[in-house]
């Protein structure tokens, strides 16, 4: 008997989706069971990587370059842990969030999305990545439209089309690489790739395709309506995980594949776009009238921070400092995952209670749901980057490296974004303080409020204070 956890991390949710599709009346129970099983698998896998180093599994026994396999190293496992924990919380939340009919549609699509995510984080093959991207994009768009409103369907159709455009462009890049090097495995390609027009063009195509999916400014236009109109648990997953997956791919390709090809200028292009995202997204979030729209724009902004890391990464010479920086980027991504998911889940509760999510009229609902408001607050702490959240630590490291390298303008952008974030988060929280009647209890509905609270708590406290394991983890693979 041999347990291939890598395969199981993808197979479990897939099987779960199959089973749930076949027996829709038991969707919740079976769905939750697969969620737990998948999360456990991922955690055990991560633990293994954390302890023993990266793992690879070649399906069919062919091995690269002919066959495909999955590989778990520190970076992928970090994202895996984050997304699985978030997904588990979302699952628990969704278990009581959806009505019986919506549940039948939610669970299979949700588990498919999950398996796409796991597959994406573990993939090593460029074409396989294309397929997982499509699986992810389709399931995400379908989930996003689940509320069935016209706005949601329109927004998600747009998302679907943009995603397809991105995929096609990415695929063109892959085709170019294959035509030149005759390989699709990232690891093998990295050994032979050399600077030149082919690699450059491929990189430009693949990255610009992924930018679309990562909603990088100014290609973010599809994100706010799509994320704001989706049901809360779906918004959480979309904002926290799906766009993050595209970023992960950019980072992964940057580090593992295109490292010999790239240079500071291209990093600066990424950084500039990131800076634009930070400023524009934060400002738009500040002016947003609806809570979920605010959260969606906040996602745009937060994605920007991740891209600002690239010029810093390029500028920093290899060594401890660069490792720190890399870990900071991953930490930032993880923290945002937890925080944004927690935020959306809590926002969903507030929206449900209030019947709308217009920020200026939320006072009563926010007051009636202390736990949800608290979750928004805690998630807000992480979104702003206040201590002791992981974002704070990450920003600290980023700013420090920027200062050391003399790239102070990125610091200005980061701080500006931070202040704007504070403004938009507290704009929401400000409405939680008014003279509504005292709530009877802190927690009203444990099954929805506790997941939100936990996610927010992890983002605001755990990741910042107990980040050390992440470094250990990243030592297994990505860090020099």
């Amino acid at each position: 008997m041999m347990i291939d956890l890598l395969a199981l991390a993808v197979a479990f949710p897939l099987l779960g989706a199959v089973v749930v599709t076949a027996t829709p009346s038991h969707a919740r129970g079976l769905g939750l069971a697969s969620a737990v099983l998948t999360t456990l698998t991922s955690l055990v896998l991560s633990l293994g990587v954390w302890r023993d180093g990266s793992v690879r599994s070649d399906f069919g026994g062919w091995g690269a370059p002919l066959g495909i396999g999955l590989q778990a190293d520190g970076l992928s496992v970090a994202m895996l842990v984050m997304s699985n924990l978030v997904a588990l919380a979302v699952s628990v939340y969704a278990g009581s969030y959806f009505s019986a009919t919506a549940r039948r549609h939610f669970w299979p699509l949700w588990l498919l999305l999950w398996s796409a995510l796991n597959g994406l984080f573990l993939a090593t093959d460029l074409f396989n990545l294309y397929v997982t991207l499509e699986l992810l994009g389709l399931s995400a768009a379908a989930l996003g439209a689940l509320s069935g409103t016209r706005a949601a369907v329109a927004a998600n159709l747009r998302y679907l089309l943009v995603g397809l455009l991105g995929s096609m462009t990415y695929l063109m890049g892959v085709a170019l690489l294959y035509s030149r090097y005759g390989m699709l495995d990232i690891g093998l390609l990295a050994e032979v790739i050399e600077p030149g027009l082919v690699a450059w063009t491929a990189m430009a195509l693949m990255f610009s395709g992924l930018f679309l999916k990562a909603a990088l400014f100014p290609m973010h236009f599809w994100l706010p309506p799509a994320h704001a109109n989706a049901p809360a648990p779906v918004s959480a997953a979309l904002s926290a995980l799906v766009v993050k997956a595209a970023f992960y791919l950019v980072l992964r390709l940057w580090l593992d594949l295109f490292d010999p090809v790239l240079n500071a200028s291209v990093a600066n292009v990424l950084g500039l776009l990131g800076a634009g995202a930070v400023i524009w997204g934060s400002w738009r979030a500040l002016r947003a009238e609806r809570l979920k729209l605010l959260a969606a724009y906040s996602t745009v902004a937060q994605m920007g921070y991740l891209f600002i890391a690239f010029p810093l990464l390029v500028a920093t010479p290899p060594g401890l400092a660069r490792d720190n920086l890399l870990a900071a980027v991953v930490l930032l991504a993880m923290t945002h995952g937890f925080a944004k998911a927690g935020f959306f889940l809590a926002a969903g509760l507030v929206q449900k209670t209030a019947g709308h999510d217009r920020i200026n009229e939320l006072g009563g609902a926010a007051q009636a749901l202390p736990a949800a408001t608290f979750a928004i607050g805690l998630a807000g702490v992480a979104l702003i980057g206040l201590p002791p959240s992981g974002t704070f630590l990450a920003k600290w490291i980023m700013i420090e490296q920027a200062m050391i390298q003399g790239l102070w303008w990125w610091v200005v952008v980061i701080m500006l974004g931070t202040l704007l974030a504070a403004a938009y988060i507290f704009r929401v929280l400000g409405h939680a303080f008014n003279r509504e009647p005292t709530p009877y209890r802190f927690v009203n509905d444990a099954r929805t409020e506790i997941p939100a609270l936990l996610l927010a708590f992890i983002s605001a406290f755990v990741l910042g204070l107990i980040a050390q394991p992440l470094w250990t983890l990243l030592d297994q693979g990505v860090l020099g």
């Binding site: 870990a327 704070f392 600290w396 700013i399 403004a423 507290f426 400000g430 303080f433 802190f442």
Partner: protein, 499 residues
């Protein structure tokens, strides 16, 4: 586990854990909430006393949590931190009692006390911070924990005040963060070290270090309410009285002032700061703040606003003390940290009592309150006299040391500042005292809530100001006794200059 390595963390946690638990309490569980509050406060007090003994004996306590390679969260205890910790702990205890009395029958108390405890945890964390990073962490947490307290009332005014408070402190926090990281980028992890760590910084980065100093000062100055960064303070007066008391006496402004002291002494080193002209600049800013705050206080009719501007003015004494080169002035500045805390918290408690019992919010309404509320007014009088610097109340001791330090450093202009400030203090406090004691009682108070008992107001509201006033008096009257703030400040100065 080694207890020495756990003690600082335990002190922080002793209020944080009750605070976190309180959030989950039902609104009606008064008793449990009170028990939690008081247990936390008392446990903290015991731990702090333990720590005081230890630090006095030269023990070192350090909790170190590595966040990332090269980035450590360090809680450690030296003489300066213990001073601030002791102040916060003591005043927290008193303020908790006061707040329990003050907020009787008002809504959202679980939320209030939860944040209240977090606020103190953050303050204690600031006090015990062993590195600049740790300081920044708790500094920001403090902002977070106080915002809900300022906004607590939920009125449009409160919301506005809280917004302004937030805008200022977040901006300050950002500056501080940038400054701290910049410094760290230049010289590596910044651990607070007696005598500073920049003493032998290479010549070529000195200019940058000076710029960083002002960036840090900008960040700290917001909380310390240095002019022109003080704008939030009068606006934050919308908060309930215990919050104002805490904000002004212990937590927020003190955090800023404490930070300035830390940066001057334990980061830059007073020698470095002196020789690069930083102290002089700080002194000028502090002096302007002192005079400006007093002038503005003169123009206020609202009692709490007058007290707020008074805080603007008084807290800068601490910065002023830090800005004068020499151990005596250092003592003056550091000891004012405690003295101002004791006196100002008394004043705010009293202002709260007047508002609570009589509906008196304005100076012009205070005619004859002394006869109606003698206990409160006595405490108020002591606090006010201390602020002016009349012996034997504690404020005099601070002023004396500041003056003496200035004289020894040859900075006679500081004496002029002290004199002007004292005169202005007298000008805005003495009329209040006059009204309190010598004016006839009006026939009707603005909004009187008669208290059923024998006392003028509930015991939980009366005793805290009396206790703090007595402490302020004792701190001046027995200034030279062992373990007084003054003696402790001398110990700090001795260790800072002790080379």
């Amino acid at each position: 586990m080694n207890f020495d390595a756990f003690l600082p963390a335990a002190i922080v946690l002793s209020s944080m854990i009750p605070g976190a638990l309180i959030f989950f309490l039902k609104e009606e569980s008064h008793r449990l909430r009170t028990v939690l509050n008081m247990t936390g406060a008392l446990v903290k007090l015991v731990l702090v006393i333990w720590m005081i003994w230890g630090v006095y004996d030269g023990h070192s306590y350090e909790t170190r949590l590595t966040l990332a390679p090269g980035i450590d969260l360090v809680l450690s205890a030296d003489a300066l931190s213990v001073l601030f910790v002791a102040l916060s702990t003591l005043l927290w205890l008193v303020t908790t009692i006061y707040a329990i009395g003050y907020l009787e029958d008002s809504p959202n108390r679980s939320r209030f006390f939860g944040f209240f405890s977090l606020c103190v945890s953050a303050t204690v964390g600031i006090a015990l911070s062993g590195t600049l990073l740790t300081f920044v962490v708790f500094y920001e947490i403090l902002t977070l924990a106080t915002y809900p307290l300022v906004a607590h009332r939920g009125t449009p005014d409160a919301a506005r005040g809280a917004k302004i408070y937030l805008a200022y402190t977040m901006g300050g926090g950002a500056l501080l963060l940038v400054g701290a990281i910049w410094l760290q980028a230049l010289v590596g992890p910044v651990e607070f070290t007696q005598g500073g760590i920049l003493g032998n910084a290479p010549e070529e980065i000195r200019g940058t270090l000076v710029i960083i100093f002002f960036v840090l000062l900008g960040g700290l100055g917001v909380k310390a309410a240095l002019v022109p960064l003080h704008g939030w303070l009068p606006q934050a007066m919308v908060a309930p009285a215990p919050v104002s008391a805490l904000l002004h006496a212990v937590a927020v402004v003190k955090a800023g002032a404490f930070g300035i002291v830390r940066v001057v002494y334990d980061v830059y080193g007073v020698q470095f700061a002196h020789s690069n002209g930083l102290l002089f600049a700080l002194g000028i800013i502090a002096s302007i703040t002192i005079i400006y705050g007093s002038l503005m206080a003169l123009t206020q009719d609202s009692l709490k606003k007058r007290l707020a501007y008074s805080t603007v003015s008084q807290v800068s004494y601490i910065a002023l003390g830090a800005s004068i080169f020499g151990p005596i002035a250092t003592i003056g500045g550091v000891v004012h940290l405690v003295h101002q805390g004791l006196m100002k918290i008394t004043l705010f408690f009293c202002a709260g009592n007047y508002a609570e019992a009589l509906g008196v919010h304005k100076v012009s309404e205070m005619d004859g309150v002394g006869k109606r509320m003698p206990g409160t007014s006595l405490a108020f009088t002591l606090g006010a006299l201390g602020m002016i610097g009349i012996p034997p109340v504690a404020g005099f001791v601070s002023k004396w040391y500041l003056g003496l330090g200035a004289a020894e450093a040859g900075a006679n202009w500081v004496l002029a500042v002290l004199v002007a400030s004292s005169l202005l203090n007298a000008a805005y406090f003495l009329p209040i005292l006059y009204k309190t004691w010598f004016r006839p009682t009006p026939t009707q108070w603005p909004a009187e809530h008669p208290h059923p008992g024998r006392l003028e107001i509930g015991g939980a509201l009366l005793w805290p100001p009396l206790i703090t006033a007595a402490l302020a008096l004792a701190a001046g009257l027995f200034a030279a006794a062992p373990f007084t703030p003054l003696e402790w400040a001398s110990l700090i100065a001795e260790r800072e200059y002790g080379r």
